[in-house]
Amino acid sequence: MLFGLNKKDTRFLIIVVLLTLFTPFLMQPFAETSPLAQFNGGYPDLMAKVAIFGIFAIGFNILFGLTGYLSFGHAAFLGVGSYAAVWMFKLLTLNVFPAVILAVIMSGLLALVIGWISLRRSGIYFSILTLAMAEMAYRLAYSVLTPITNGETGLQLRPHDPRVLDGPGAPQYPNLFGLELNDSYFLRLGDHVFTFNVGYYFCAAFAILAFYVSLRIFRSPFGLMLRAVKANQQRMNYTGLSPRPYTLAAFVISGMYAGLAGGLMAAMDPLAGAERMQWTVGGEVVIMTILGGAGTLMGPVLGAGTIKYLENIFSKINENVLHQWFAFLPDGLENMVVWLIAHFTGEGWALTLGLMFMLVVFFMPGGLVEGGRRIARLWRKRRHGGDGGADGDELHRPARSPHVAE
C-alpha cells in the first residue's frame, strides 16, 4: 500500500522505477571493445528519447487505449510544448522547470480548444478532424506564425536573449538549478562504459511521474468511465451519462503529456522546429502505442523504447557493417544478402517500421504486451496442463462499427 496503490500495482511501479533507474546499465550490455558494441543503446541522447517518447505514448494511450478515440493530431501538442519551452529559455531563464511547466500549460490549453471541437464527432471523423487541426497548426507555424516560430529555421537560443531571471554567471545551457542537462558522469567497469546523464534522469523522473499518474487514471473511476466510452458509448448515453466531459478530460490530459514530452525535447536540445508538428510525427506515436499494446499500462513505453532503439540501431547499420557480418558467406551470396538487407537498414529504416507495423496490426492487434501474454500463457499451460486462465476481452477493443450498408 503505497501512494494509493494496491500491492500488485506498487510492485509494478517499483519495477518500473528500478528499470528506469538502471537503464544506463540495461541498455549498455556489451563491452566497448566487443564487436557487438554497436548494439549498445546506453548513450544519453537515445535514453532520453526513449523516456520522452515513452511519456508521449503513455499520454496518447490514455486517450486512444482507454477511450478508443484515434487522434492523428498529437504532434501539434508536442510542437507547441517545444515552442513554449524554448520561449521560456529565451525570455525567462535557462532553468528547465518554468519551461516544462509552461509547455504543459500551453499544450493543455491548445488541447482544450482542439478537443472541444474535435470531440463533437467520433470514429473516423474524429481522426480526420484532429488530423486537419494538426495540419493547420503545422502550416501556420511555417507561414503566418513565423515571428513566433521562426519558420523553417526553427526557434533557437541566441547569446543576446533577455533571460531576465538569469544572472551574469548563469549556465549557458538548459539546466536544473545550475546542473547542466548535458552533463554526464562516466562509470568504467573493465571494458564497459556506463553513462549517467543529468538530462536522462531528469526526463526519467518525469517519465516515472507520468507512468504513476497514468496508473492511477487506469485504476480510478474516471478510468473506468473512459473504458465505458470505448466499450459502448450508446449504452453509456442511455444510462444518463454524457461521455463528452470524460473524453474531453482524457484528450486534455493526453495533450498535456504530449506538451510535457515536447518541453523535455526542447530541454534536451534547445531547438524547436515546425517539422515536429507534422502529422506523421503524430502517426509515429500511434505506431508506438499500437506496437506496445494499446490500452495496457506498460505497452506504450515498451513500444516507444523498441521503436526508438531499433531506429537508432538500424540507422547505424550500413553496407560496410553488413559486409562484415556476412563475410562468412560465399561472395555472390554475400553480396545478394547484403543488397537485400541494406534496403531495410540505414536509410531504409522507415520501410522496416512500416512492415513491422503492418505485421503487428495484422497478427498481434494487442501489440507486444499481448504477444508476451500469449507466450506466458502457453508456457503456463505446458507446465500445469489445461487452461491457463482465459482472460476474455482484456483489451476492451471497441465493437465493430456498422457497415454503411447496414
Binding site: G68, I117, R139, S143, G348, L351, M358, F362, R397, A405
Partner: protein, 343 residues
Amino acid sequence: MDDIILQFINGLDKGSAYALIALGLTLIFGTLGVVNFAHGMLFMLGAFCAVVMQRILNISAVTIDETQKDFLGRPLEVKTPYAELWFGPEIGQVIVNWSVPLSLLLAVPFMALVGWVMERGIIKHFYKRPHADQILATFGLAIVIQEIMKEIFGANPIPVPAPQSFAGSLDFGVLLGFDPNVIVYPYWRLIYFLFSSVILLAVFAFLRYTTFGMVVRAGMADRETVGLLGINIDRRFTIMFAIAAIVAGVAGAMYAPINSPNYHMGMDFLVLSFVVVVVGGMGSLAGAVLAGYLLGVLESFASMNTVKDALPGIDQVIIYLTAIVVLLVRPRGLLGRRGVMED
C-alpha cells in the same frame, strides 16, 4: 472579375485530382466499408507509371557516328530511342513525346493488378475489424509503399513533360471578351480537366447503366440481401476496388506534368483527399466529386493576393478550415446520406 475567373479555372485542375482520388476512396468505403489510408499511394503509383513509361520510351540504342566528333575528338555517340528506330524518326519522336498519355496503357493494367493484390492480400482481412484497425493497417502499407518508391526513384521530384503539342497556354480571356493575356490557362491543365471529367462520367455511367454497376449499387445498399440472392458480391467489390485503384492511378499519371512525381505526394494527397471525402459526405459519390472541385477552387481563391492580405495564412489552411466547419455544421457532409456514419 478577370482575377476571379482566373482563380476559378486554376482551381479546376487541382479540384479534378481531388475529385478523382476522393471518388476512389468513396467507392472503396461505400462497397467494402474499409477506410483506405493507402489510397494516396495509388495516386502516387500512377504518377510514377508516367515516369516509368517515359524511361521505357527513352531506352536508346547507341550508335557511333563517324562523321561527327565530340569535343574530345572522338567519334560522337548518338543515342536513338528504339521507338525512333522501329517506327521511323517522325512517328518515333511523337511516341517519345507523348509518353504521359501513353503511360495510361501501363497505368491501367498495373493499377488493376495493384488494386487486386492489395484487396485480396490485405484489405480482405480487415472487413470485420474496427475502422481504427483498417486505418492503421493501410497507414502501415502507405509507409511501406512510400519507402519503396523512395528507394527506387530517389528523394527528388522527377519532372515529366507534357507532350509538346500541349506546351502552350490557352488565352481563355479572349474567348470571354477580356484583353489578351489576362486569363491564360495552360493547355495541359485544360486537358487534365477534360480527361478527369470523362473518367468521372465514365465511372458514374458504369455504375448507373450496366448490370454490373446495378449489382454493385445494390450491394452498397444492402450487401447481405444481394449475397442471399446468390450473387458473389465479394468478387464484384474486389473488382470495384481495382477500378478505384485504376481511377486513382490514371489521375496520378496524367497529373505528372503538373506536379513532378515525388515520393511524398501520396501522403500529401492522402490527407487532402480524406478531407474531401469527409466534406462531400462519407459514402456519397456525387458528394466526393462536388467537394473535390469545391475545395480545389476554394484553395485557389484563397491564394489570391487580395484574400491573403485580408486574412494572412488563409491559403495554407482554407481546406482544413472548410472541413472543420462542414463537419461541425453538417456532420454527414454536403451530400451525405442521412444516417450514414453521422456520429
